[in-house]
């Protein structure tokens, strides 16, 4: 892995086979009031000033507000202008296309593409996160195919939450389409999609750390679900096992921490970056 010259948290690969892979580490979302309370942002930081401050520590962010509401070009452009030129964005696909599928796929996709257009070449990936009840049925396979057709031309990554999708034909189809399968770090639960190091797109691997809070995950309370602090040991172990495998099969990798509660995500992201740099 090579370090991007301008980026604070690009990192180099610990392995020879992965030495050409450029890795970017960041967090899922950056606008959390809680991160002011927990000291990641200086006291009194207003939401409007968070992105420039975040960009001092990280070179990539996963936008999650595009999941809550359809991306709107003028707001996305204003936000992107606040980050330095080298800064990259991954944008989560709107929930009306993944979680609340109520028709109008083509129109929704058109709006989404229009909305994220201002990101231009700074768009690292569109994240299609599918809900746990989206199982591998014929209808859902058709739906996903139509959705991915609609995203054609955009760098895309798919995160499954249901285990039924963890089969070779799915990986083969993603490979054919050059779409990244998201590698998750998640508690072990019977029906959850497992942590795998399968790379389906040689251009990009995509990792999401959700935390390993088993009880929180069952509680359905977001503040408990994503309340987890990875230890140095856990991050070291992950780097030597999973990251090696991923980085040796792709040119670029993006890694996000979603355990936003009590600003654990930025802490863990910094720690992982240090580990990767030390190992290079």
């Amino acid at each position: 892995m090579t370090q991007h010259p301008d980026t604070p948290n690009g990192a180099s690969s610990p392995s020879t086979s992965a030495k050409d892979c450029q890795v970017f580490v960041g967090t899922s979302g950056y606008s959390y009031t809680e991160w002011v309370d927990n000291g990641f942002y200086p006291a009194g930081t207003k939401a409007a000033n968070m992105l420039p401050l975040y960009a001092r520590s990280f070179s990539i962010v996963e936008l999650n507000y595009t999941w809550y509401q359809m991306a709107r070009a003028e707001a996305v452009a204003r936000m992107a202008a606040k980050a330095p030129d080298h800064f990259l964005f991954a944008a989560k696909l709107t929930r009306t296309l993944t979680h609340e599928r109520e028709g109008g796929l083509r129109e929704q996709l058109r709006l989404y593409r229009e909305g994220i257009e201002p990101l231009g070449p700074r768009l690292a990936a569109v994240l299609v996160q599918l809900p746990p009840d989206f199982t591998r049925t014929t209808d859902n396979r058709r739906y996903l195919a139509a959705l991915l057709d609609g995203l054609d031309g955009l760098p895309t990554a798919v995160e499954f939450r249901h285990v039924s999708w963890a089969v070779d034909p799915v990986f083969a189809e993603l490979e054919r389409r050059r779409i990244s399968l998201v590698t998750v770090d998640i508690p072990t639960l019977p029906n959850l999609f497992p942590p795998l190091d399968v790379v389906t797109n040689p251009d990009l691997f995509y990792v999401r750390f959700h935390g390993r809070n088993l009880a929180g995950w069952r509680s359905a309370n977001m503040q408990k679900k994503f309340d987890y602090n990875y230890s140095k040991g856990e991050l070291h172990e992950w780097t030597t096992t999973r990251l090696q495998a991923l980085a040796s099969h792709a040119k670029k990798g993006i890694i996000f921490f979603n355990n936003h509660v009590r600003a654990q995500a930025p802490g863990n992201a910094r720690e992982l970056s240090r580990i990767i740099e030390q190992g290079s």
Binding site: A43, K46, A47, A48, Y68, Q69, A75
Partner: protein
Amino acid sequence: MTAMFRERAIIHFNVTDFAVSVERIVDNALRRRPVIIAPFQAARAVVYDMSEEAFGCGVHKGMPLSRATRLCPGATVLPPRPDIYRRAMRAFLGQVQSYSPRIEHGMVDGHIFVDVTGTHRLFGPAPDIGLRVRRQVRNGLGINPIWSLAGNKLVAKVASRLVKPTGEYIVGSGEEEEFLAPLPLPLLPGLSPEEVRRLRDFNLIRIGQLARLSRQQLMVPFGNRSDFLYAASRGIDSSPIAAGDSRAASLAFEHVFADDTNDEKELAGIAASLAAKAGRELRTRRQAARRVEIQIAYADGIRSAGRATSRRGTGSDFILRKLARQALQRALTRRIRVRNCRLFCSLLERESPQLPLFPEAAGPEIRQEKTCAALDSIRSRFGHAIIQSGRVQ
């Protein structure tokens, strides 16, 4: 610990066509059919609420029903049932109350403002609350509210106006002015139609055009409204979320006439009686009101309101009666018979414990106060109707 300014997070929930949405929960067959709600037994009934489909045909609130049914002949017309709308509103509020105690809402209009500032440690990011409430209300009650999130009520309200009939809108902190700038001026809450007309005379069509003007420039044509226009056009609004019903900061009393009447004496008598009830309630709460509003509903469904304001807050029957009389005179604009009369006391404040500096000069007031106290004590034992006041002609 030092107190620190915290950016506010206000969520506005709105169920469009609330009455129609509730009727559709009660009767599923009404879905996908145009619906008009109006008291059709009244001779000249007007539209109380209508569905999106009826609105699409040109029907709007306050329109005579005869015209509405001509415009939308296929519509199902139902009489308003405020009781079930109130019940639905209570259930809707119940869902929101688990996230914040700071809630402001209308009576049965489907609007709720919630201040979720500082709740992130319990419930996570504010957009998640918006989404969860919507999901719960949709699954539990079958109605689908719009929600918007912004740093204040004004911007949140504009945002939800943009996404009707369904959807959501998040306005990022610091983006208020840019968000408002391209929007047409009538979307700005708090502007009177007259002000919109005047602004149009100055060739100001969009909110951003208004925001380019300085306070001094606005002062000449708009006088004391210039501060409001200056702040609102920039998305500045520091008004707090008033806990509870937005009318909870008011007292309301109602009288429905057994037979519709246009007898001015009878109407004045009822207004005075309602004022006395309000006075007693105010004195019990140790509050004083500065404004009395009379709302009347004519037999044909048309409503009219009049207000009277006093410089000092009062809980005295004598002054409240005078204000009620003035308000009634302002509300009575037609010769049609009146069906009901409501009295609201608002601009409530705490009763001042200050005694008069020169008691001899405040003689009549003290006498009136004593009379009120005597009336209260009699009524507390024998009921309100046991003793009435009257006017000597």
